[in-house]
Amino acid sequence: MNNLIKGEKHDWEMVIGLEIHAQVKSNSKLFSSSSTKFGSSPNSQVSLVDAAMPGMLPVINKYCVEQAVKTGVGLNAKINNYSVFDRKNYFYADLPQGYQISQYKYPIVGEGKVTIDFKDGTSKDIRIVRLHLEQDAGKSLHDQNPSKTYVDLNRSGVALMEIVSEPDIRTPDEAGMYISKIRSILMYLDTCDGNMQEGSLRADVNISVRKPGDEYGTRCEIKNLNSIKFIKQAINYEAKRQIEILESGGSIEQNTMLFNTSTGKTRPMRNKEEAHDYRYFPDPDLLPLEISKEEIGKIKSSIPELPDELKNKFIETYKLSNYDASVLTAEKQTSDYFNETINSDPELKNYAKIVVNWITSELFSLLNKNNQDLNNSPVSPENLGQLIKLISTNEISGKIAKDVLEDMFSSGKTARQIVDEKGLQQVTDQGEIAKVIDEVIAENPKMVEQYLAGKDKLLGFFVGQAMKLTKGKANPKMLNDILKQKLNKKN
């Protein structure tokens, strides 16, 4: 695969690394018992600790630690028995302590890797450097008053996992696939709700460009991107910007950039000289975090089937392609739905590929059109299973099945109900089909002549006419066979 992008003078390769900030799914914050519920009224979920009142002390939330360990296991990573919380010192209005509690030298999770799958059936490993736990900051609200900034501390102290990748990513698509994969793993593990719109998952992107084979170039970091679309846009824009500078003889300044979602452009936020000196040091209010092998073992044994395992299982059990299986397992709700559908009837096992298609193309497009989610799909897995069963037993044609699905989607009825009510059963009676064909042949003598003169393409015309007369219910294979037979007899 050629991942290079063309500049004016050279081909260039992007080198991309991601820092993903995933909010830990937990009812309470990392160091306090305040609620983490999203969308509550400002400053309604703030404890004395979150507001950094004098004399208040952080106490680690064990559940968040377990969630991080779980995630580490899911990322095939090394879990560290010993990790340390550090203070990252800087002033900002929505950072009440004047420091963020994070992990610097000794993170809770070390090296790991995740695999991304391409459409062509190949795959690639992206290495993970580390995962560490840290507190989120509050939120500064600049749009509430013309001259004042308000601060909402509801988010202050919420637990985040920062997942840092090696610079193994080479294209915006890979970046998108990587973050999707991480999101998928977190959601399977139930350690993050994966909601990018609400900011539960966001990423900082480090990007540089180089001529193939060269050393890494100077990188820039684009901060705080909260959708895969923006990540790709930002990477594309930033890569082009860097290439233009380099090709015109300039050099890249190591900057921290912000991405403007309305213009699609990046702009510098601060340069290296303006970079903060965070004065990291171990937080003396907290003891080092020690997790025993037994505890790690216990957490490991509680982990559900993850997308890659499930993918392999699907490939093996249902003979699906790598790509189909990875699409099915990309989101837990999809693989759950698939499992429920295929298990709704013992026969369906033999039609796995059809089941995949009906879920990932027909049902997904209906859901998309109606802005709905698989989780609250009006068509239940059992009902979809029933529909596919009707197709597989030739009771209805695939074409009619599409209309039936639409009907099921809007009316909530079962496939059986709709087919019976509307009489949509496929016509498989040879005599009945032959009768219709005879009618069509009789009514189109000129066409028959032309066909017999060698215009084979006209076969489709006769099929169409016959289908029209049967309201699409004729079994297409039988129709084809009988039609050919009859026409050839004329010869």
Binding site: L48, A51, A52, M53, P54, G55, M56, L57, P58, V59, I60, R87, N89, F91, Y92, A93, P96, Q97, G98, Y99, T149, V151, D277, R279, Y280, F281, D283, P284, D285, L286, L287
Partner: protein, 474 residues
Amino acid sequence: MSKSSLKQTLKDLDTKKISIRELNQDYLKRIKENENLNVFIHFSEENVLKQIDNLEKDNSAKKLKGIPIAIKDLFCTKSMPTTAASKILENFNPTYESFVTQKLLDEGSIFVGKTNLDEFAMGSATNTSFFGNTINPLSQENEPLAPGGSSGGSAAAVAADLCLGATGTDTGGSIRQPASFCGVVGIKPTYGLCSRWGIAAFASSLDQAGIFSHNVEDASILLQSIAGFDQRDSTSAKIDIPNYFENLDDDLNGKTVGIPKEYSIDGTPMEISQIWEDAIKVLEKKGVKIKNISLPHTKYALPTYYIIAPAEASSNLARYDGVKYGFRSDEIDSLDEMYENTRAQGFGREVKRRILIGTYVLSAGYYDAYYLKAQKVRKLIADDFNKAFKECDFIVTPTAPSAAFPLNEKQNDPIKMYLNDVFTVPASLAGLPGISIPFGKDQNNLPLGIQILGKHFDEQQVFNAAVSLERSYE
């Protein structure tokens, strides 16, 4: 001035020889008579009377019922403002009660007021307070003396008999040194014995609450009341607290005392070497084995302390930014200006000096040379003690290198001021318990203190040695 002890007062209250109201009115009277000492940042007679009213209505038995206690103004209290002696918290009223003060309230004690201290506990003379100096009650007519610091207000409150006990905090000597200067007993327990929850932080890995009292028995009663595990403080120790008072035993026969040679420092006044020798002689007479020990890294303790404590302070004090509570400067045109002016105007000189030092030693490029190295030395200092305590049961040293000095001396020489902590800082770095008891006087009849250090969580041995020395001195 004959002072009644806490122990005796509890008896008198029990036998109805005196009522809670009579007792406290006696103290209120003295507090008002001694306003010139500037012991309290916050004192309200009304508040004290209210507490008396409430206790009179309360029929339950409580260990310290009606006992007047003074609280260092670093402990957050619901019923009184909490300032940390800083302008930046001038009008701060906590909505919560610190662990230590809550324990004292639960036992039925009466808070007579919040005592003065060095701003955020940074100082050795109670002269960096935004609310002015506290004067040592032992000062002679024309020469006002410093009470020591940082808990100078609490030490002075006990010395002037304005309460039967007081809370303090000790980061590098802030209980023991003022106790020595004011001629009272002051104990800093093992790090982790008393929860730090609700105490405005100075240096988290060193801060520890403790007690001032008239005598060792009283200290043992009060310390037991404020000690204990608290799940809100991750550094709080999960141990059973013994009944120190019940277990007091002045028979030291067969014990071994360690005498560290590194504590004989050139320039230490004769009188101080003298009381140290006296104490050793007394112990010897009591059958205590004298063991000369070495704590070889002692000389690095002060520089180590003055890296670690400011480093932690620079971060701990970042929360005072004018955003959420406390003082905010009026002159603000931007967020940066709000920080700069709020903190420039809200903090005093010594606090700013330590924030600067702390920021410097943690900054990129200097961290390894200062902070990291200091942490390593701290470990060596702790190891010194661990080794020494294999050969002895407790260690005896002087508490401070001088008696109380005049108020204005050393004000402009921070290094000289820091030297006050030379004997107290090593045990702080090692997290060990230490007590200072009055033991002898200098030529001006000012009290001098002897320090007894013990093993981790061996407060009982510290109390036993202290009560034994105290009884022989009386």
